[in-house]
């Protein structure tokens, strides 16, 4: 298929349709409104259903209902709305229902600003709700990557029977880029029919119950299974991009839009002869710990965490992975303020030339 020029939010919506998503419920919030707007007419075209929920709380529970039928279902929102969905996310995980949740994030806390930010990292990677469950978190940095990850997210969600989060800041949601869409996925019943409530022609089966409530012994066992699942993600599903890392003495760690801006700065620093590289986590959870373990710490002098967040939120994960073998610095903007490649260049340059505290 030929490439088309598309806005980030719309590209995600079309990718979801191609992935077989046939149910969407959501509530208006900037900067992600193009997703529900697009799906409101696109889903009926392919035999799916769109519901504009009365709130984010209701919307995530509508997704819960659709997922119980085995229908590929998603919702999207932005930071304050995602907070309202955390109850529902916990129930999805508790009932073991798959779904895709897209967070086109904006500056916080509170109502904050509609401008882009990366201040939902901790919420996304540590606790998307009460009860100690985790979700896989994907963070694209180009629109093509956003399309490809959206397409795959549903497969991960169904494989694990757990919600998946796509985390992308508002600037990537708003830009336009060329993207190439994968083909329409033809879904079959196989693999899903064992657990969901869908009825199939001529099928005789015992009644099924999907519930978020368990007796203690079973719940502990379920949580052990969740712990095992998390371990498997760390073994098998980590995605990371390493950029100019071979001889890097200074390692920038950044994801999403920050990684894009950092790449420009790194290319300019390289021109000046500074050996700077980039580790870009694509899965924020599972975090690419092994990439940090495999570095040569005789070569690496320092890490610089660059985020649209003050204080930096990914820093804890970097510190845990680095285990004190090199200092970790941070540079960021917050509150919806962005940085350009020059200010990122300056921040890295200061550290490279020994000017940082």
């Amino acid at each position: 298929m030929a490439k088309v020029l598309m806005k980030g939010t719309v590209a995600i919506a079309e990718a979801a349709v191609r992935a077989g998503c046939r149910f969407f419920a959501g509530y208006p919030i900037t900067p992600q409104n193009e997703i529900p707007e697009y799906l409101s007419w696109r889903l009926p075209e392919v035999g799916g259903a769109f519901v504009q929920g009365e709130s984010e709380v209701a919307s995530i529970n509508m997704v819960y209902g659709a997922a119980a039928n085995g229908t590929r279902a998603m919702t999207s929102s932005s930071s304050p709305g995602i907070s309202l969905m955390t109850e529902g996310l916990s129930y999805l995980s508790g009932t073991k229902l798959p779904a895709l949740v897209v967070n086109i994030s904006r500056g916080g806390p509170g109502l904050g600003t509609i401008q882009p930010a990366q201040t939902d990292y901790l919420q996304a990677t540590k606790a998307m709700g009460h009860g100690g469950f985790r979700v896989m978190v994907f963070a694209p940095s180009t629109l093509q990557e956003a399309v490809d990850l959206t397409y795959e997210c549903f497969d991960y969600a169904e494989r694990d029977r757990n919600p998946v989060l796509l985390l992308m800041d508002g600037s990537l949601g708003a830009i336009m880029e060329q993207v190439e869409f994968p083909p329409m996925k033809e879904l079959t019943d196989e693999g899903t029919r064992k657990w969901n409530l869908a009825k199939h022609e001529g099928e005789t089966r015992m009644p099924r119950m999907l519930t978020p409530v368990y007796p203690e012994v079973i719940l502990e066992n379920e949580n052990k299974q969740r712990a095992l699942l998390t371990k498997q993600w760390e073994e098998n599903d980590v995605r990371v991009e390493e950029f100019m890392m071979e001889d890097a003495e200074y390692v920038v760690v950044a994801y999403g839009i920050s990684a894009r801006v950092s790449k420009e700065a790194i290319l300019n620093l390289r021109e000046q002869g500074h050996k700077v590289g980039l580790i870009r986590p694509i899965t924020l959870f599972p975090f690419p710990k092994k990439t940090f373990q495999n570095l040569n710490y005789d070569q690496v002098k320092a890490f610089i965490d660059i985020e649209l967040a003050i204080p930096a939120q990914m820093r804890d994960d970097i510190e845990v992975a680095v285990r004190g073998r090199a200092p970790v610095y941070e540079y960021g903007r917050s509150g919806g303020m962005l940085f350009d490649d020059e200010s990122v260049y300056d921040a890295i340059h200061k550290i490279v030339t020994g000017g940082a505290e």
Partner: protein, 249 residues
């Protein structure tokens, strides 16, 4: 030769009820089960469970069930029914679930005219959590959070959900029945079946409120609780059919 004229509905498990003595939840559930049996929908029905005593049906119901978060049963039912329009979907909610935490969900589902049925068990208290004040608690009624009786000055008045929902244009059938006496029980059974029949015909949102009791948290014997309903609950929550678009005026 003996003829079997009465038996347990197929939609219920063959096990004794674990509800408190005198509780009307099992009766309400049985009426729904009877209606579903009579409509031949045992294998097609999906029971969306709420949070509260009404969720205990998960132990007694024989059929597909989906447990929803507190107050969110109409939202979960919306998602399910929109994805599976051929299934007979119903939620069974208590008054705290439906009229307090889930007020937005029930009103919006009703207003959209979602093609499923909500059964609303109104016993004017939170039974499972120990008898706190509900939006439906009567003025003067003592609960664990209204020690001296509900005071309208600080807590407002009991909410009449049938009256509120019937102001909306979309709902197709809205009715209230009292389960404290045989007459009301018989009327309720007909109303429940009618609501489900309308859903099967694709008519849209149907709502049946069932006035029930809570002898345990009301601090009464079962018989006292039925009398209390007659003299206090029914005069405020007046039974009747509030909307029936299928009956020509």
């Amino acid at each position: 030769m003996a003829q079997k004229i009465y038996s347990r509905p197929k939609s219920l498990m063959p096990m004794p009820s674990g509800f408190c003595p005198g509780c009307l939840h099992p009766l309400a559930t049985k009426l729904i089960a009877d209606a579903i049996d009579e409509l031949g929908q045992n294998n097609n029905a999906v029971h969306v469970l709420p949070v509260g005593c009404s969720a205990l049906n998960l132990m007694y119901w024989r059929g597909d069930m989906l447990g929803a978060a507190h107050g969110r049963a109409p939202a979960a039912a919306t998602g399910f029914k929109r994805s599976a329009p051929d299934r007979l979907v119903f939620a069974y909610q208590g008054d705290g679930d439906l009229a307090a935490i889930g007020l937005a969900e029930i009103m919006s589902a009703a207003n959209r005219g979602e093609n499923f049925t909500v059964f609303f068990a109104n016993n004017s208290t939170y039974g499972m959590t120990g008898g706190q004040m509900a939006p439906t608690t009567l003025i003067g009624q003592k609960t664990s959070t209204t020690k001296y009786g509900r005071d309208a000055e600080t807590t407002g008045f009991p909410m009449r959900m049938c009256e509120i929902i019937s102001t909306l244009d979309a709902p197709y059938y809205v009715a209230r029945f009292a389960l404290n006496a045989p007459k009301g029980v018989n009327q309720a059974k007909k109303g429940i079946k009618k609501a489900l029949q309308y859903q099967l015909e694709g008519k849209g949102f149907t709502f049946v409120e069932l006035l029930t009791n809570c002898p345990t948290t009301w601090g009464m014997t079962p018989l006292q609780s039925l009398d209390y309903m007659e003299t206090n609950t029914i005069p405020y929550f007046i039974p009747g059919v509030y909307k029936d678009k299928g009956e020509k005026a």
